[in-house]
């Protein structure tokens, strides 16, 4: 078995409720996330998809099981796992540029340095150093351009629309160069047109920058359009019900949604999710 980038093994998580029964958020969830994959997780609310994302992010603990990245247990948040939140989570007192540059303060740039050792031989060693001001500036410029926000560098988040805010959040996520991007319903609060455009932009960026993406959504259309694998989760208890490989070639665009094969996948995922939804006692 090839070693997965992130490996989740038999993870259990219960939320303690003061009155009434405890909520079984995750009940034996196992999933391997391969490098450069685009995984979408769908499922009814309460299926624990956000909990799963938070556990991978290191923002939440779990009761039992194992979650590893590169074989090492995840013990807390780290810049190698970038998170993009539905509520954007931009710092309102920072401009667009400052929001993107802020996280760079915590990561180091790896550089090759050539030096001569005692015996007079030239050796190459890698050195880590903080980003300089200019480098931060350039990186911010690059990612602002990537998300089409040139001209808004010095705007505060309050002056931006929801779609623009989420673009800033995505640029911020990419600027830190994480190995995996964890996206928690990032387009959930946006209108249909903005959403469609951001989906295409995200696909383009993913094809260009080849990052592993773990994307949560409740929108089956969105999941099938973006994902190479769709993970369907069931609620109460939160479990993985099925994993569907989406064998549609990239690059995909909104036009992909018209294709018969897309519609077949979509109907299949939708049926599965909806049947589960009907089974949940309400």
């Amino acid at each position: 078995m090839a070693k997965a980038l992130i490996s989740i093994k038999d993870v259990h998580k219960e939320f303690k409720v003061e009155k009434g029964a405890n909520v079984n958020a995750l009940n034996g969830v196992s999933l391997d996330i391969e490098k450069n994959e685009f995984i979408c997780v769908v499922g009814p609310s309460g299926c624990g998809k956000t909990t799963l994302l938070n556990i991978i992010a290191g923002l939440e603990t779990y009761d039992s099981g194992a979650v590893t990245m590169h074989g090492e247990t995840i013990v807390g948040p780290a810049p190698e796992r970038g998170v993009i939140f539905q509520q954007y989570a931009l710092f309102p007192w920072m401009t667009v540029r400052k929001n993107i540059e802020y996280g760079l303060k915590f990561i180091r740039k790896t550089e090759e340095v050539e030096s001569t050792d005692a015996s007079g031989k030239k050796v190459k060693t890698t050195k880590q150093r903080p980003y300089t001001k200019e480098e931060k500036h350039q990186l911010a410029d690059h990612y602002i351009k990537m998300v089409n926000l040139t001209g808004f560098e010095n705007s505060y988040p309050k002056a931006l629309s929801g779609g623009m805010k989420q673009r800033v959040a995505i640029a911020r996520g990419y600027a830190l160069n994480p190995e995996v991007l964890l996206m928690d319903e990032p387009f959930g609060a946006l209108d249909a047109q903005t959403r469609a455009q951001l989906q295409e932009d995200l696909l383009k960026t993913w094809e260009k920058e080849k990052k592993t993406v773990f994307f949560i959504t409740h929108d089956v259309d969105e999941a099938v359009l973006l994902a190479s694998r769709v993970v369907i989760m069931s609620a109460r208890p939160g479990q993985i019900k099925e994993i569907v490989n989406i064998d549609l070639p990239y690059p995909r665009t909104q036009a992909t949604k018209m294709e018969d094969s897309f519609i077949r996948y979509k109907n299949y995922v939708w049926d599965t999710v909806y049947k589960m939804y009907l089974e949940i006692p309400k």
Binding site: G76, P77, P79, F91, Y102
Partner: protein, 267 residues
């Protein structure tokens, strides 16, 4: 035809707007002039004039009190000094206390019951005790004002620290921020607006308490002046003192509001 259309004019619906700028300013001027006229009119009634001086009398008091042998500016400067010292000390002390309470649950749980309890006591009630402890000089005035402003500011700023958007904290953690980074980079700027709101509330509390603190055990200051003039039935000076306090409060609040606007353009 034209007339018919005019007849079916759209109904004006209540929208709770303030109206145009011109409309607002016109009404403000009308309100001020009208208020003064009403004041002048009712003080023409002799029975009312015995306890309420007319605008002309107050103006006369302003002139005589401002003269070289008057004490108007001395009263103002002494009162201002008391407010600024008491408020300033409270401001400096309330910020660290509020942040410690917001940051450390231990501090919060130890301190909060006392803050909440003391908050319900009007600081004026402490005056006798403070005078017994500190005598009649300036320190007891500073202390009373300090207590009043401090409690208001601690509660406001502490609420702000506690209510920092948790998503922002999670975001900072995912970047790799340490707890120290989190405190200085996120918690402090995020609670900044609350510090400014707290300062305005604290300033209002300082002024309220100032007058009470000056009613006993002092000869100078606006509160003392009002009290003294009352004993001589000099209602023009009483009213002058009251109006002066109102203006000082208004100006100080506007200054803080301006600082708030300047420092939180991002809001």
């Amino acid at each position: 035809m034209q007339q018919e259309q005019n007849k079916t004019k759209a109904r004006k619906l209540k929208d709770f707007s303030d109206g145009s700028k011109r409309y607002r300013y016109t009404l403000m001027i009308v309100s001020i002039i009208g208020g003064f006229m009403l004041w002048a009119l009712i003080t023409m009634i002799p029975t009312i004039n015995t306890f309420l001086a007319s605008p002309k009398q107050v103006y006369g008091a302003l002139i005589s009190e401002s003269l070289a042998d008057g004490r108007y500016f001395k009263d103002i400067s002494i009162s201002l000094q008391r407010v600024l010292v008491g408020f300033g000390l409270a401001f400096i002390c309330s910020i660290p206390v509020a942040f410690l309470m917001g940051w450390y649950p231990t501090v919060r749980n130890l301190v909060e019951p006392w803050i909440q309890f003391l908050r319900t006591i009007p600081p004026i009630a402490l005056i006798p005790l403070v005078i017994l402890a500190m005598g009649l000089g300036e320190p007891p005035k500073y202390t009373i004002i300090f207590v009043a402003a401090f409690l208001v500011m601690v509660v406001t700023i502490y609420q702000g620290v506690k209510e920092v958007d948790k998503t922002l904290i999670r975001a900072a953690y995912t970047f790799g921020a340490s707890d120290k980074d989190l405190f200085f980079d996120i918690v402090i700027p995020a609670s900044f607006p609350y510090i400014l709101v707290g300062a305005r509330l604290g300033m209002a509390a300082s002024l309220t308490t100032l007058i009470a603190a000056e009613l006993t055990g002092t000869t100078f200051g606006l509160g003392a002046r009002i009290q003294g003039a009352q004993q001589f039935m000099d209602t023009s000076i009483v009213l002058l003192g009251i109006i002066t306090i109102g203006i000082i409060g208004f100006v100080l609040d506007k200054i803080l509001l301006l600082i708030e606007k300047k420092l939180t353009t991002w809001k």
